[in-house]
């Protein structure tokens, strides 16, 4: 098993970084991560970031919110204490459903949005009190950083590629 070490390259612009990512991909060298002050279009495919599964989470959270709201209203309005409002049928959920839709909708959106936010924050390690995992504080301002996995054999090649594509610093 070869010894892996991280090579950190700092770029001044996103285009050289994209070029470096493209060349590393051709050589089948694994990029660990890229840090950038703004989203770089098309970088996901180059550094092998898998498609986000946040949409699946959103569906599950939405379905949870919907079920919770219906359960709550069924319990309050139909099971525990039946209330006759405006002479509406009040003995079955399906007969009363139109009146329950607005609350159900709101609860679905509330659960989906909030839980998605917290899931995203948790997965991106952005929760309060967590120390930011940026390799260099300048990536939040004007620099672009790329972390590449290197072994003793590939390190030289990686250094060359990064230098040729215009990395301003390599560590």
């Amino acid at each position: 098993m070869a010894n892996f070490k991280l090579v950190l390259a700092i770029f001044d612009d996103e285009q050289p970084l994209l070029a470096a990512a493209r060349r590393l991909k051709e050589k089948h060298i694994k990029v660990k991560d890229v840090f950038s002050p703004f989203p770089i279009h098309g970088i996901d495919g180059l550094i092998g970031v898998p498609r986000t599964r946040l949409a699946i989470c959103a569906f599950i959270y939405g379905a949870t919110g919907m079920s919770l709201a219906l359960l709550m209203m069924w319990y309050m309005m139909l099971h525990d204490w039946q209330i006759n409002i405006g002479g509406k049928p009040n003995f079955a959920l399906y007969q009363n459903l139109p009146a329950f839709i607005p609350v159900t909708f709101e609860s679905t959106v509330l659960c989906a949005a909030h839980l998605m936010f917290w899931t995203y924050a948790f997965r991106s390690k952005l929760l309060p009190g967590v120390v930011a995992a940026t390799p260099d504080p300048r990536v939040t301002d004007n620099k672009f950083a790329m972390q590449v996995w290197a072994t003793d054999q590939t390190e030289g090649e990686i250094q060359t590629i990064l230098k040729e594509t215009g990395a301003s610093e390599i560590r």
Partner: protein, 391 residues
């Protein structure tokens, strides 16, 4: 590249039109009342689709949208159907308006008559034949005028690469959108809501607009997919399909939102003068269609088009658009029939035949206007951005 109308296209369109003419003739012989109401359904539906074409083009110019430059010839061609719907609408109103629209009866407004209706008489300022005709002329006149002006600028742009056509189109779009905002509501009140003369809903203009936009988008998608399948519009890739798919998906939900708001408030308040609109749609066997309308126009597109991959897949997108295209015909059917023919309704040879007839005419006109200009515009300033569109 220009589209060439194939023999097959022409033949299918002619067969459909022939079926339509036969069905209309058969309808007039057996049940003229139902046939006239049916003509109103189909004509309004295809008018909405054509109008959506022009509206879509205007919105794209107004927003200076980049992605849509490659697809814009399709909605532009759809708009060319508007003159036909204007003619048919005038025929319907002049020859059968008296039976379709209750408010055209003069005695309702006469206090001495036993037929006097205080509520309808109170609407005399808006619902009277001269003003109705003026509105009709104004609406159709302006829609057709703007459709032609957009088309003229767009074709002129293909010939010389100057920016002035784009700039002028933006000005036109700003003016058209203001006119459309008013006329889409008034035309919905005029052609559909005034059938149930006593009834009114402040959601109705929006509700009809949502239906208009979503059915127009479904036809745009079907046309794009057809052209792509025939080897035209290869520049349109899955990213553009994703965007039109998002429009179809999003506006299906928007339509449901308005449909439900209108229904829920009236159902909940349960006031006799409002609730009878839905009572009409609950009786005479409309109940199944009324519930089906919700499933076919909300649940089906929602489930088919929710995932990103389905919006980028031609087959799924085709299924979604085809469902919506049929579903919104049913929506217009349910807006017209219960108020006009009540229990006499049916979906049979007459309805399907007339629909096919209109579809044939629509295909004939849209395909011929597609053939008159390049399928993908040439010197559109946003074209380069559109070709590189990636999401």
């Amino acid at each position: 590249m220009k589209y060439t109308v194939t023999k097959n296209n022409k033949m299918i369109a002619i067969i459909m039109m022939a079926v339509g003419v036969l069905a209309i003739a058969y309808g007039f012989m057996t049940n003229p009342n139902r046939q006239w109401a049916n003509l109103l359904v189909d004509n309004f539906y295809f008018m909405a689709i054509a109008l959506c074409g022009t509206f879509f083009v205007a919105v794209q110019y107004m927003a200076q949208a980049g992605w849509s430059a490659v697809v814009k010839r399709v909605p532009e061609a759809m708009g060319q159907f508007l003159p036909v719907s204007a003619v048919v609408m005038f025929i319907i109103f002049i020859f059968h308006g008296h039976d379709l629209y209750h408010w055209t009866h003069k005695e309702l407004f006469d206090p001495a008559s036993p037929e006097y209706d205080k509520i309808i008489a109170g609407k005399a300022g808006y619902l009277n034949t001269p003003f109705f005709l003026i509105r009709m002329v104004l609406c159709f006149g302006l829609w057709i005028l703007f459709t032609r002006m957009f088309r003229k600028e767009s074709i002129a742009e293909d010939l010389d690469s100057s920016f002035k056509h784009f700039d002028k189109s933006i000005t036109l779009a700003a003016a058209f959108l203001v006119i459309f905002a008013v006329s889409s509501s008034t035309s919905a009140w005029d052609f559909l809501m005034s059938i149930d003369t006593h009834w009114f809903s402040t959601m109705f203009g929006w509700y009809t607009f949502a239906g208009l936009f979503v059915s127009g988008m479904s036809v745009t998608i079907l046309l794009i997919l057809y052209l792509k399948n025939k080897g035209y519009m290869q520049e349109v890739n899955e990213n553009h399909l994703h965007d039109v798919g998002k429009f179809l998906f999003g506006f299906s939900i928007f339509w449901t939102y308005l449909w439900f708001c209108q229904f829920m408030l009236i159902w909940y308040a349960n006031l006799p003068e409002e609730v009878y609109y839905f009572q009409e749609r609950w009786e005479h066997g409309y109940k199944t269609l009324f519930i089906l309308n919700f499933f076919i126009n909300f649940i089906m597109p929602f489930l088919v088009l929710m995932a990103r991959d389905t919006k980028r897949n031609k087959k799924f997108l085709f299924v979604g658009a085809a469902i919506v295209f049929c579903g919104h015909w049913l929506d217009v059917f349910l807006m017209v029939m219960p108020g006009t023919v009540k229990a006499e309704w049916g979906i049979g040879i007459i309805e399907i035949g007339t629909f096919l007839g209109f579809l044939g005419l629509f295909i004939w006109i849209v395909f011929h206007s597609l053939a008159k200009a390049n399928v993908v515009p040439k010197h559109h300033p946003m074209l380069n951005e559109s070709l590189r569109h990636h999401i």
